[in-house]
Amino acid sequence: MQSTTTLLDPTAELQTAARQLLPRLESIAGLTVGLLDISKPRGKEFLDEVQKHLEEAGAKVRRYSKPTFTRIAPTELTQQISVECDAVIEGLAD
């Protein structure tokens, strides 16, 4: 006769918080867009191209890069981007 079994949860017991998306931008003309290079090889060439298109659409572009692609972005960097930019594009992997 097997009674009820209790196990202990091996996970972090986290539930991902559901977050409301920020309002989408109607236009990027006159706004500042940050480009974050995660520091993978050839990221610069790709983001140069993206920057050209953004500037043609009237945006000001600011460039940032992570110290290394193997670690998450430092808090100071994400805070700096959030203060200086209206929008950000992060380049992920190669």
């Binding site: 196990l7 202990l8 670690r71 998450i72």
Partner: protein
């Protein structure tokens, strides 16, 4: 000597079990104490409430609740209580049978006069193997904080663990509260202590969560300190567990354990040390992987983006063979002493043999090994991936007989692996892959400084050393070998 108190009536508590010859010996003593109106006696019996015979009011403690709370270690134990207001507190206790001691403790001169002078007691049932965690769980302070998962009656326990996504693909040991308590007993660390934040979700990882996953991995409690140390190493910034988990490359933590603990817990550093069959090797390596999966949230296809992965992502843990006193261990290379128990984590994968059955001179064998080491990641990529050279026992003998120590081998490998950039730049040998053009006129070494580690393990037969290739993001920009004292 116990002081005799001039109180009107003394209160005593006696804890016994029938299965103890000393308790049965003093059965008449217990009855006479119970009848004595000058004192009050409560008798708790651990196994059979009909014992002592012909005595009313015996308290059945077969749940062992009183014995646990009173921290009884031996039966019989006789406790004298003192009244302080409404509460009774323990004044002192004696255990076993020592006639003189009992007589002075109870202030009854003739107590048990016809019995032997002395007979030691027996172990309390609270001291039975495995009982302390059972009782701590039932009557102790609540130390487990993890969410309880109640399984439905129809659920198969093994399947339930799979269904909840807790497994690496192999069966796990169901983490019941009792098993987790037993795992926690393997370390003095507080269950609630936070060891660090586990990537990739960057969530606090407690000793308790480590214990739960160590249970699931199949660890014994005596392995637990090694598992904790492996987590502490993995969470150091220099190891870069976050990036290692996310990478499309093959790598995962490879663990090398040094020092006396390897013998104490029966780790394998001999025949088949990197293979299957040893519980400690197998389960310690697996525990860290389960922690990253379950606590950190690093699941293959989720944040773990490995193109192929490698079989070592189930488990990759072994002990170093430290039988040659004159050959420095990996831990000693990292600044520890022979007497220290240390776990070192390396971001690596796979095992590439270095077969050399002909070399009898150190010079030849070092060249042989260097030649094979060029294949790490790619023959034309230099300074990118670290490596561990795993020297087998017979190859170590060749070096030792040739008068070489580990430093000599390291120096020879370094010199042998210096290479003109022109040979390995992109396009050389008709192969597009290789070093960028800017290295064309430089002398390059296959490994960055501190990028090649040397370890010894394995059986005594076979001239087969091996290479554990490292992550291509080795060094400060990614992962560096990380050692943690256990």
């Amino acid at each position: 000597m116990n002081q005799v108190l001039e109180t009107q009536s003394a209160n005593y508590v006696l804890v016994v079990k029938k299965d103890c010859p000393t308790c049965t010996l003093i059965e008449p003593v217990i009855r006479s104490l119970a009848k004595n109106t000058a004192l009050s006696l409560k008798v708790y019996v651990q196994d059979d409430p009909s014992f002592p015979a012909n005595l009313d009011g015996v308290i059945d403690d077969s749940s062992l609740e009183y014995s646990y709370q009173a921290e009884i270690e031996v039966v019989p134990t006789l406790i004298r209580l003192s009244d302080e207001g409404d509460t009774q507190t323990e004044e002192s206790r004696i255990y076993g049978w020592d006639k003189q001691q009992w007589q002075s403790f109870t202030r009854i001169a003739e107590l048990g006069a016809d019995l032997v002078d002395f007979k030691p007691g027996c172990g309390s049932k609270t001291q039975d193997p495995g009982m302390s965690e059972v009782l701590a769980l039932r009557f102790g302070k609540q130390i487990l904080q993890a969410r309880s998962v109640e399984l439905a009656e129809a659920e198969d326990i093994m399947e339930a663990c799979y269904d909840r996504g807790w497994s690496d693909g192999l069966p796990v040991v169901p983490p019941t509260p009792l098993r987790v308590m037993r795992m926690l007993s393997g370390s003095p660390r507080d269950a609630a202590e936070i060891v660090g934040n586990a990537p990739p979700d960057n969530v606090p990882c407690t000793i308790e969560k480590i214990a739960i996953n160590a249970v699931m991995a199949g660890c014994k409690p005596e392995y637990f300190p090694v598992v904790i140390a492996s987590v502490e190493a993995a969470l150091q910034d220099r190891f870069c567990m976050h990036g290692l988990l996310c990478t499309t490359y093959f790598s995962a933590p490879v663990m090398v354990v040094n020092g006396p603990i390897t013998k104490q817990i029966g780790m394998n550093s001999g025949i088949n040390a990197l293979g299957q069959g040893n519980r400690a090797n197998a389960t310690i390596g697996r525990a860290l992987q389960l922690i990253i999966r379950n606590v950190g949230g690093g699941v293959p296809g989720g944040i773990d983006r490995a193109c192929m992965g490698n079989p070592g992502k189930y488990t990759y843990c072994f002990a170093e063979d430290e039988s040659d006193e004159n050959w420095l261990s990996l831990a000693m290379d990292r600044g520890f002493e022979r007497k220290d128990s240390v776990i070192s984590l390396f971001a690596g994968e796979g095992l590439q043999p270095v077969l050399d059955q002909q070399s009898r001179a150190p010079e030849s064998l070092a060249k042989s090994m260097a030649s094979s080491l060029r294949s790490v990641a790619h023959r034309k990529l230099f300074g990118m991936a670290d490596a561990i050279l795993v020297v087998c026992s017979e190859h170590r003998r060749v070096f030792r007989e040739g008068g070489w120590n580990k430093a000599d081998l390291r120096k020879a490998l370094f010199e042998e692996l210096m290479t003109p950039g022109t040979e390995v730049v992109r396009g050389a040998d008709g192969i597009a892959e290789g070093m960028p053009e800017k290295f064309k006129d430089k002398m390059l070494n296959k490994f960055r400084e501190d990028g090649l580690h040397i370890v010894t393990t394995g059986g005594t037969a076979g001239m087969f050393s091996a290479i554990i290739g490292g992550w291509v993001a080795s060094g400060e920009r990614g992962s560096q070998l990380t050692s943690q004292k256990i």
